[in-house]
């Protein structure tokens, strides 16, 4: 099946700054791609090009087989955009905002009104629907913004940092809404600088830094590339830490490290649960008291920090090949 979004060697520069240095992306229909990166990495530029707001300097991009430059007019009726700046009209009520967008999608007045009511219900904005949007909380504004992007039932949705600036409750509320959308078959490209958000929502993640995709894959693939697993040991008595380090080194897996001041030691490894058993026996034999012993997968924070620090010191092409 043809991917819903195809991006090839897409480039955009602002003066001497390469906002996008030739990125490639594919998003399969009905899935969420998380475009993950720090501020200024090129996430918003990519979304603006894909939503026809900005013309690329080079390369090409297609959404649902429509070229973002050549077929821009046709494409606009197939996509929804919710931005980090929550583009709702503060002077209009929530209902008026949605009706206006409906009219501009060329729905008939009655249809636009019906659609507005439906979305107000679905996004739990009923109580506030007839108040000016400027009185809304941050979370409500984002929900209204998201509702506005859905007026036309677009098959492809672009969410540019949808939860930036929201409190944890607002963020979790919005995550639920987005998850439900994808269950309905919508294809989503989501940009975020929150690793947790990408982990929670995205089927696949592309990590972008300084205008380049430095890694791409499923959440699990990314975690595996970076370091397999980590064996973590916390010694009960910190005086025994050096002994414990020697014991870990003796396992022959690699160089163990002190991971903190409180007796936490870590050993990167590719081995499995058997290693935990072996480590426990070794500590027991050496008379080292262990408070905690666990095998954990790297978090996306580990992934992200490893990849981006790599990219800034090594040539981008060799930093981390895309996973396919």
């Amino acid at each position: 099946m043809r991917p819903a979004i195809v991006v090839e060697r897409l480039q955009k520069s602002y003066g001497p700054t390469h906002a996008l240095g030739g990125i490639d992306l594919e998003v399969a229909e009905g899935t969420i791609l998380g475009l993950l990166g720090p501020n200024g990495a090129g996430k918003t530029t990519a979304v603006r090009i894909l939503t026809t707001l900005l013309d690329p300097d080079g390369g090409r991009a297609e959404v649902l087989g429509l070229d973002v430059v050549r077929d821009a007019a046709a494409l606009r009726s197939q996509i929804g955009l919710a931005g980090q700046y929550a583009a709702v009209d503060g002077q209009l009520t929530g209902r008026e905002n949605l009706r206006l967008v409906g009219r501009l999608y060329h729905l008939r007045a009655a249809e636009a009104a019906r659609r507005a009511d439906e979305l107000i219900e679905r996004f739990e904005l009923a109580e506030a629907a007839d108040r000016p949007a400027k009185t809304y909380s941050g979370g409500m504004r984002r929900r209204l913004d998201l509702a506005a992007s859905l007026v036309n039932n677009p098959p492809v949705l672009f969410l540019d940092e949808p939860t930036t600036g929201l409190d944890p409750r607002g963020r979790i509320g919005l995550w639920d809404v987005i998850s439900q959308l994808v269950k309905g078959g919508t294809t989503v490209l989501l940009t975020t600088q929150y690793l947790e958000e990408a982990d929670r929502l995205a089927d696949r993640i592309a990590v972008i830094d300084a205008g380049r995709i430095i890694a791409e894959g499923t959440v699990d693939e990314l975690k595996t590339t970076v370091g397999g697993t980590v064996l973590e040991v916390r010694v009960a008595d910190q005086a025994q830490a050096p002994d414990a380090l020697r014991a870990l080194a003796a396992l022959g897996q690699g160089e163990p490290q002190r991971a903190g001041e409180n007796g936490l030691l870590s050993l990167p490894t590719t081995a499995s649960v058997a290693l935990v058993v072996e480590a426990a026996r070794t500590f027991d034999a050496a008379g080292i008291a262990v408070a905690d012993l666990a095998l954990r997968r790297p978090t996306l924070d580990d992934v992200f920090l490893t990849l981006t620090s790599h990219a800034s010191t090594a040539a981008p092409q060799t930093a981390a090949p895309p996973l396919h």
Binding site: L53, L54, D55, A73, G83, Y85, E96, H106, P132
Partner: protein, 261 residues
């Protein structure tokens, strides 16, 4: 077939423009402070100009009210049309323009909607000022058609200036700069004109400039129409200016809007 498509595109462009106009007019009504002050200000201008300047100026053939009110109307419209730049700059920085540009609506609709709502606002202000003028002694002494013509030419100039300011607003992108830029342009144009005093009293070089401006032609046309004097010459010049400005700045602004910002 292609004519049919063109007609339906035009119909949608008009519908889109009207939807945006409605949205902008709601803004005006929703902000009571804005409504109150934009109402008080023109009333204040009429009263002050008539009582402060009016008495110091004697122009043969006019009561001073009839001389100065058309000038006050034009200055009000000229300064007021920078609202177009401010409105667009606010929509740009607030992300509304991005929202609009991502929708399958006509590319011209945001600008036509903006200038049309500013036209409605200008018309309201001009009618209000004219009514106030009547309280302080202004009278239309020509035909009813002339009276309507005087109002229309003033509002028409405001509409043309709105298109200049829509280009300014899209170029400078923030409300403060838009306001500052428009003041620098509008102030000399309004004061170096026949709006408040006869040109004959100005130094020759200033007169030469002031005689050519759209402000002077519009004021002269409105004044002649309001008082039932021969208006053809200034009216033609004013119309030429208005159409000329529209012919240049509509395509310029629309292409600026269409281009990725």
């Amino acid at each position: 077939m292609s004519a049919g498509i063109t007609t339906s595109r035009l119909r949608w462009a008009i519908a889109d423009g009207l939807a945006v106009t409605g949205r902008n007019l709601r803004h005006w009504v929703r902000q009571p402070q804005l409504l109150v002050f934009s109402t008080i200000q023109p009333v204040m201008f009429v009263v002050l100009f008539v009582y402060v300047f009016g008495s110091a100026i004697t122009v043969p053939g006019f009561t001073y009210q009839n001389y100065i009110i058309p000038g006050v109307l034009v200055q009000s419209v000229a300064f007021g049309s920078n609202q177009t730049a401010i409105g667009l700059a606010v929509d740009l920085s607030g992300g509304m323009i991005d929202r609009f540009r991502s929708l399958p609506m006509a590319r011209s609709a945001v600008l036509f909607g903006r200038t049309l709502s500013d036209l409605v606002r200008n018309l309201f202000v001009v009618l209000l000022m004219t009514a106030t003028g009547y309280l302080v002694g202004f009278r239309f002494t020509g035909s009813p058609l002339g009276a309507a013509g005087a109002i229309l030419i003033v509002v028409g100039l405001g509409y043309a200036l709105s298109w200049i300011y829509s280009f300014v607003g899209l170029a400078v992108r923030n409300a403060e700069s838009a306001q500052a830029a428009s003041f620098v342009v509008t102030f000399p144009l309004v004061f170096a004109s026949s709006a408040f005093v006869p040109l004959e009293g100005m130094p020759g070089w200033l007169q030469a400039f002031a005689q050519q401006t759209p402000i002077t032609h519009t004021v002269d046309a409105a004044r002649a129409l309001a008082s039932g004097l021969p208006a053809t010459r200034p009216l033609l010049f004013a119309l030429a200016w208005i159409l000329g400005i529209l012919a240049v700045f509509i395509p310029l602004s629309v292409s600026r809007f269409r281009r990725a910002l």
